[in-house]
Symmetry: C2
């Protein structure tokens, strides 16, 4: 037993390793979280300092045993990452995706990276890395059709049928917001530091409804934000709410149309302020929502991946 | 008579003064162009060096007479320009717009700036500066309905009815292209210096058709360009063609829907490579096109503005 873990020894370390940040959890044999650590040494930092160095540093700081196996998801498995974990082509069952984790060679411990997903349709090529693990941890029912919305820099909408990923699409909503706010003419409208947008802002709601009514056509309304500043004295914080409402509403209208939303609740995998904005916007679209916390989902997905790869037992004993 | 103008003395100087560049023409009493000069001292430079200094420098280099009146259109008339020429609210007749030029005080010559247009609809606020002059010079018939497409950084689509601007909209297509190419994840797909897009590129045509079929919903396809690079070995120059086709197709689908295109040919006010791309895209949309050269249109519009302001005679004698 390792010192400091009050009775339960860690059985696996689970790592969510994204582009700009990483999180590490120590998990016991029953799937219980023993410790958590966060760092801003994501892919970009790791490319310079070395993935192994950064991982071992975090594990040492958590007093993890030398031989503890590690399961990783996210951009660490990309071509620019530690080891390319080749994409699994959809349609594919979630359990098979997790079980296909790629082993990093030359490590003194068992380190594996969950593969991303590729949609190889010629008319709709798409990829994801990291969200497949969130999806596996979202507690989706084994049977039936689920439409899952995972908002962020590159929002993913995923159609899951009977526990398998049937198809997905990407809407770069978060990236559009930040790129337009920083580099387009809208920077004059939004100012340098607009306050975070809240779902109760009437501008957020109005512009979201406009985008929903226009079936995802957002380009026709972008310049209106600038014009509203010139003609209607729109304030910077409200301009940010307009842009947020327009882009989120546009995403929901477009994704709903593409994936046929409405038959069942949309499963929203999100946390904090972003979850609140999408809950409001999905409500304005008349869609029922079931929210799953994104942080919990990725941790649960990594634990499930550890099980699928035999790192911890399938039915762990309760502590 | 001023030296160097082979028989005809200039009656007015016409200036198209944009954000980053300016053009000056000397015009005789009959509306004939005697000389042209181009500079990269647009609004941004002029804010530092002074508008009068820059204008007088160009006029001196063209040996223009001391008392020659000047008519100006474009961003020089904005709030950040030389003198704010207040917006004319649409609907408004083109002739009345031109006649409303604002006189710059404190100059030794008569200098006037054509006003921009404001659409003060609460649900679709919009503004333009400079395009109103192109529009007046586009040779539109005095009667009937015309839908005019003026592509660029901020493309304008204008509905003209019986010689009056009935309404308009802005699609920031050129700006979206450059901002996404430089600052979004698509910079990895397009590379640093993609070749100019040509209308014969099949990727331009395919992605344009996709956007046309999806009614202006372009955000759902942006990330596909990145994915096509990862999964289908899409080359950088072709990725630029995809993005161009997607954005131009999206603009046309959206604007056609908003303004009801199809009853008569679209009047395309554009020059060079941009004209060729829009001609191809409008053709793919099944729309008939009549192209008017944008450079000629702005010059003709300024001459018409000089006439409306009594700077040259309405029916000038032929040289």
């Amino acid at each position: 037993m390792s010192p400091g873990f009050a009775g339960n020894a860690p059985a696996v370390a689970a790592v969510d390793w994204g582009t700009t940040r990483m999180r590490v959890w120590l998990i016991d044999g029953g799937g219980k979280v023993l410790a958590e650590r966060r760092g801003d040494d994501g892919l970009i930092t790791a490319q310079q300092k070395g993935f192994s160095t950064i991982l071992e540093g975090h594990l040492a700081a958590m007093a993890a045993p030398e031989a503890l196996p590690v399961i990783i998801c996210g951009m660490a498995g990309s071509r620019q990452g530690w080891l390319e974990a080749p994409y699994v082509t959809v349609p594919a069952p979630l359990s098979a995706i997790l079980a296909g984790a790629a082993r990093v060679p030359g490590q003194h411990r068992d380190v594996r990276i969950v593969p991303g997903l590729a949609q190889r349709r010629i008319d709709a090529p798409d990829v994801m890395r990291g969200e497949e693990t969130q999806l596996a941890g979202a507690g989706l029912p084994a049977k039936g059709r689920q439409l899952v919305c995972m908002p962020g820099t590159h929002s993913k909408w995923v159609l899951v049928e009977d526990g398998a990923v049937a198809g997905f699409g990407t809407w770069p909503t978060g990236e559009l917001f930040s790129v337009l706010a920083a580099h387009s003419i809208l920077r004059h409208s939004l100012g340098e530091h607009p306050k975070p947008v809240t779902p109760s802002n009437p501008f957020f709601r109005n512009w979201c409804e406009t985008a929903l009514a226009e079936a995802g056509d957002v380009t026709s309304r972008l310049f209106s934000i600038r014009a509203a500043g010139l003609l209607q004295d729109l304030k910077a914080d409200d301009a940010a709410a307009c842009l947020s409402g327009l882009l989120i509403g546009g995403e929901i209208a477009s994704a709903s149309r593409r994936h046929g939303a409405g038959a069942e609740p949309v499963v929203l995998v999100a946390s904090g302020a972003l979850a609140a904005l999408y809950q409001a916007a999905l409500g304005l679209a008349g869609l029922e929502v079931r929210t799953v916390d994104a942080d919990e989902a990725v941790r649960a997905g990594l634990i499930e991946a550890a099980r699928e790869n035999g790192m911890i037992a399938r039915t762990g004993a309760a502590p």
